[in-house]
Symmetry: C2
Subunit: 250 residues, 2 copies
């Protein structure tokens, strides 16, 4: 008997942002595997085993899921947001590539979800309405020099930018350096959006000019969006709208 492995995105937090596709996969699963807070979002039910594991054990978690699917189980690996954006899908395929050849014959499906930067952008207006890039600011898995290089080139390309994992207790200095690079490279007061815990009860959205940003405005639950040079602010009572126009004059 051959099993099934689904890698599903739970979106940023709100139930109303979970796609019906993902809900259906969860309803059929025998086993759900994931990081503790994401697995905690699911309701227990008879016939479903929840396997919650700690952060930073993505490859072990992926192998465990693949082993269970090989044994004929119907397994869902859950990520928050979209599983293909700085999340579990790449870890599962890394495990497949390094694992037994039989794993390549498994029925493996990735189900997209609402990734944090797009939920955050929606709350602010449309800051990613034109060309943009997404960068993971953690240097746990890549050298810091590569992050700095990408920041400089993204500024030169005048992309709007979305940053995942901007800052953690273990890495308090990276985001200080990233802001320094951006403030020098951009040299203006373009809007920066700090979007924390989007779509959850703890949601907090702040819009700050780049030249007044400080690193403690972000934490691990924050997605940061930096506008392009063309990004506009529409002042109004309450939070302003922030958007990047679709056109760039010649």
């Amino acid at each position: 008997m051959s099993g099934r492995l689904v890698i599903a995105g739970l979106g940023p937090g709100a139930e109303a942002l979970v796609t019906p596709d993902v809900s259906a996969a969860l309803a059929e699963a025998t086993d759900v595997v994931g990081y503790i807070p994401y697995v905690a979002r699911l309701a227990p039910r008879p016939g479903l085993t929840l396997h919650a594991s700690d952060n930073r054990v993505e490859l072990d978690r992926a192998r465990h899921a693949l082993e269970m699917a090989s044994a004929g189980r119907s397994v869902v690996v859950v990520s928050s947001g979209d599983p293909g954006v700085f999340a579990m899908a790449a870890a599962v395929f890394e495990a497949v590539e390094g694992g037994p050849l039989a794993w390549r014959a498994l029925d493996i499906e990735v189900l997209p979800g609402i990734t944090a930067m797009l939920a955050a952008a929606a709350r602010a207006g449309a800051p990613l309405g034109h060309d943009f890039c997404a960068i993971n600011l953690s240097d746990n898995l890549k050298p810091w020099s590569l992050i700095e290089k990408r920041l400089r080139l993204a500024a030169e390309a005048d992309f709007a930018m979305a940053f995942y994992n901007p800052r953690s207790k273990a890495r308090p200095e990276g985001f200080v350096k990233a802001l320094d690079v951006l403030q020098r490279a951009c040299g203006d007061a373009r809007p920066v959006i700090f979007a924390r815990a989007v779509s959850t009860p703890e949601e907090k959205i702040r819009v700050v000019p780049l030249d007044r940003c400080t690193s403690e405005m972000a934490d691990m639950r924050t997605v940061v969006i930096v506008g392009a040079s063309t990004t506009r602010i529409i002042p109004r009572d309450g939070a302003p709208f922030v958007y990047t126009p679709r056109s760039v004059p010649a």
Copy 2:
């Protein structure tokens, strides 16, 4: 009486990829505004007026929606994918900025959706699993020189890249030039994914090495994803898995 304006993302095509949030907004709407094929995805019902308009009239459509919301209607502007990614949200905010001040006081909400590049990436594996950028290849609203500059800098930054609107009948030459820039800048056979009409009955996914890509592999319904230098292919029976590892060695 003050109305409401929701800008909602219908996802790439399949009903199972429409979020409950968007479905609820559509169920409450008095008016839905959008490009003809997107409005055609909705079922008519008593009390709902459908306003379908042609392509390339985004600003007129946005103003029409804002006028109806100002008159107290409950209006939903629909986009395919995510409304904040090369879609209607930026057009609506552009209309707000240029319109009467009263429009800024409207209740305007953007509801995110599954954008085409993430649905396409999910079908192929996890090609956007590490830092990436999204570029609209249409030069209708920006100079071609800016597109070329961004392609060169994105290649230098070693981003994976997702391209929206790669090619249309009116612009057959742009994608030829884009491929030429990339083939020179990247100089290798990294995987390129041509994902057409993802999640619809016409879906077609093709993985082609960059040095063998030709422009007619894409059309206006295609999203193109170009891997980074680190992107891997896992051969297997049937379509290969394509993923970009989470780590980059120092």
